[in-house]
């Protein structure tokens, strides 16, 4: 059993503990961190989209269908794998992203995906987003060219939703 500690010593120990706790509290939300410069905003280019199948579907012959179990007699024989998507993003005519995005999944049957964040100066910018998701080897299947005005600290997201007509701002 240790000897009792005097009140002044306890006060001293409290002061030490309070100082350490104050140190913890002080650095629990300061100093502030600036993720992007003050006069800039962010454009996020992101989508998750499945391209066309790796090759065209083929209609099975009646003989082929007859050989299949009844529950598997689908008239079309479609490959599981998808094509990759070639996507490109240009900001003010400068291509900032241009890449072939492979399909996801071990069987290459999942959607191609992309998430990129670009910091841009506040003000108007011409955004050109394009992608190729079919068998064509040049040119693009979908395109959006639009001038947007980015406010300081604004976060704009450019997604691709075929059901909404293609590229959309979110």
């Amino acid at each position: 059993m240790s000897a009792p500690v005097s009140i002044p010593r306890l006060i001293g120990l409290f002061a030490v503990l309070a100082a350490v706790t104050t140190f913890a509290a002080a650095f629990s939300n300061a100093p502030a961190y600036r993720q992007i410069p003050a006069d800039t905003g962010v454009i996020k280019f992101s989508f998750s989209h499945s391209a066309d199948r790796g090759r065209e579907c083929r209609r099975r012959t009646p003989e082929e269908l007859a050989k299949l179990p009844p529950n598997m007699r689908r008239p079309l024989d479609c490959p599981r794998s998808r094509r990759g998507i070639f996507a490109e993003l240009a900001i003010d005519d400068a291509v900032v992203f241009s890449q072939e995005l492979p399909p996801s999944g071990f069987a290459k049957d999942g959607p191609s995906q992309i998430y990129r964040r670009f910091t841009v100066a506040a003000g108007p910018h011409t955004i050109a987003a394009r992608l190729r998701d079919t068998s064509r080897t040049s040119g693009f299947d979908r395109e959006l060219i639009e001038t947007v005005s980015v406010r300081p600290g604004q976060s704009l997201a450019l997604d691709f939703r075929p059901e909404h007509g293609g590229f959309i701002w979110r």
Binding site: V5, T21, A25, N29, K44, Y115, Q154
Partner: protein, 519 residues
């Protein structure tokens, strides 16, 4: 490279610890209670977290509003609890870092101690994950920053399907379901953390998981004072249409997040390298240690004192394997034994009074046998020319560590059984005995100082016999940096001994001591 860093850090800790020893005494020294304080802070965080969870709305829309509601409208209880939750979490990082640095500085992570060190590495990970998932739930601007940066960091790993960061693309993309998952994570991860903490202390006996009540109360008071003066607040509701910049970071939990912004891959590299290096440190280089303790069954009656005294859970009692009429015997787990010798000091067979046959004892260090201790004692006595005649039993890790030439130098002072002191004084071999061990708050072998104090005070077996004049014993608990204090205390002790005169030999010789009870 590691050695000089370790020694430099050890000097810093030593200065701070001795200062706190002088201020509050060894028992209340916070630096000697870092592990216990870590557990205590965990429970503060757990209790305050449960309290806050009862008032928290887990939906995207209402999460921030509910936090604001109880922070501002119910500041006197829920607001204080929130500050407790936040600041105690930050204090856990402070305590953990200090604990890690202190064990490193004191070289208590190599050899048999590798287990506690290595299991501490996932504790670091889980503590950070616990804190980061908690910040996320408030769904203020800091939470938004953490959410986007964390998910971008995770998306760098090629293991997720759709990028998780897409959940935070725009206000419309966030769902309540995601928040439910976060709440689950913020409960599950701390539970795993607690489990890891339990594993972390498995290889030590009598782990300190509760600080002294006075220290715990003062810690609570300090948290309360800071909670009142600087309450934890949110940073405005999250808005995915805006970039949360600037944002006030918690630099204890998020010091590397700016690096994640710049290069997630670089951060993963840093984290992976740091984790591997930390986990490998016990073998960089491996500790050259003495052979582990061995049991001599001919002298072991299975009394269990060595099992009680071992600080590292390296001993246990098992059914007898020989024909001697005892129920159990001690066995040593060589992987856990750090060769501190405390077991030798606790063994009732470790008595130097025996004259017939070799001086074997029940449990001994092959590289530093009990017989060699007595031999060394006689050698020192034969060499001694000073008056009064002194025997110093010194710990390698304390102030006497650098004086191995003139002392009985041991890995721990508790490796010397009290009967050795009795022997030296009652045989008139010396006039006084100096026991120079580690500081009370920083025993290298955790419990050696405490056991030695209790043995001398007659509170723990084996007791120092009552016939031994206590005025001829000086205990100095000092660090390597306190050599001057050790010298001063020895000088004063010599004056005291000179006044007492030579120690007269006991007229009655003592037979073999098998067991002795406190008088």
């Amino acid at each position: 490279m590691i050695g000089p860093v370790r020694r430099g850090l050890a000097r810093v800790f030593d200065a701070a610890e001795r200062g706190l020893d002088r201020l509050a005494g060894p028992a209340l020294n916070p630096l000697a209670q870092l592990g216990a304080l870590g557990f205590f802070l965990f429970w503060i965080v757990a209790v305050s977290g449960i309290y806050l969870f009862m008032l928290f709305d887990t939906g995207v829309e209402n999460a921030h509003a509910s936090v604001e509601w109880y922070t501002t409208r119910h500041a006197w209880h829920a607001g204080v609890m929130r500050s407790f939750h936040r600041y105690a979490s930050d204090m856990m990082i402070v305590v953990m870092v200090l604990h890690f640095l202190r064990e490193f500085a004191r070289d208590r992570y190599r050899g048999a101690r590798w287990f506690s060190w290595v299991t501490g590495v996932p504790v670091i990970w889980f503590l950070y994950m616990s804190g980061i998932t908690g910040y996320w739930l408030v769904w203020d601007q800091l939470a938004q920053y953490i959410a986007t940066t964390s998910t971008e960091l995770l998306d760098w790993l090629p293991i997720f399907g759709e990028p998780i960061a897409r959940n935070f693309l725009a206000p419309s993309s966030l769902s309540n379901r995601f928040f439910t998952l976060l709440v689950f994570l913020h409960i599950a991860i701390p539970l795993v953390l607690l489990f890891m903490l339990w594993i972390h202390i498995q290889r030590i006996t009598r782990p300190r998981v509760n600080p002294p009540r006075t220290l715990a109360a003062l810690t609570m008071l300090a948290l309360l004072a800071v909670a009142i003066v600087k309450p934890a607040l949110s940073q405005g509701a999250a808005d995915l249409a805006k970039v949360p910049s600037p944002v006030g970071l918690d630099w204890f939990y998020l010091p590397l997040y700016p690096l994640a912004d710049a290069s997630p891959g670089a951060l993963w590299g840093v984290l992976a390298a740091a984790t591997v290096m930390l986990a490998a440190m016990p073998w960089l280089p491996p500790l050259r240690r003495m052979k582990p303790a061995t049991v001599d069954l001919d002298h072991c009656n299975g009394c269990g004192r060595c099992v009680d005294d071992c600080p590292y859970d390296a001993l246990q009692l098992v059914p007898r394997s020989d024909d001697l009429p005892h129920a159990v015997e001690a066995v040593v787990d060589a992987d856990k034994c750090v060769s501190c010798g405390i077991c030798t000091g606790s063994c009732p067979s470790s008595t130097p009074f025996r004259s017939a046959g070799p001086l074997d004892t029940g449990i001994d260090l092959p590289d530093l046998t009990f017989a060699s201790m007595r031999e060394r004692l006689h050698e020192l006595v034969a060499r001694g020319t000073s008056s009064p005649r002194l025997l110093m039993i010194g710990c390698w890790h304390g102030a006497a560590g650098a004086r191995a030439e003139d002392i009985l130098s041991l890995p721990c002072v508790a490796a010397a059984p009290p009967s050795l002191i009795d022997y030296a004084l009652s045989r008139g071999l010396v006039d006084g005995v100096v026991i120079a061990g580690c500081p009370e708050s920083a025993c290298y072998n955790r419990l050696g100082v405490e056991w030695m104090q209790q043995r001398i005070a007659g509170e723990r077996n084996p007791y120092l016999r009552s016939r031994v004049p206590r005025e001829r014993i000086l205990s100095v608990w000092a660090s390597p940096a306190e050599g001057a204090r050790l010298d001063r205390e020895i000088d004063a002790f010599k004056v005291q001994l000179a006044a007492l005169g030579e120690a007269p030999p006991q007229t009655i010789d003592t037979p073999v001591i098998v067991e002795e009870t406190a008088s």
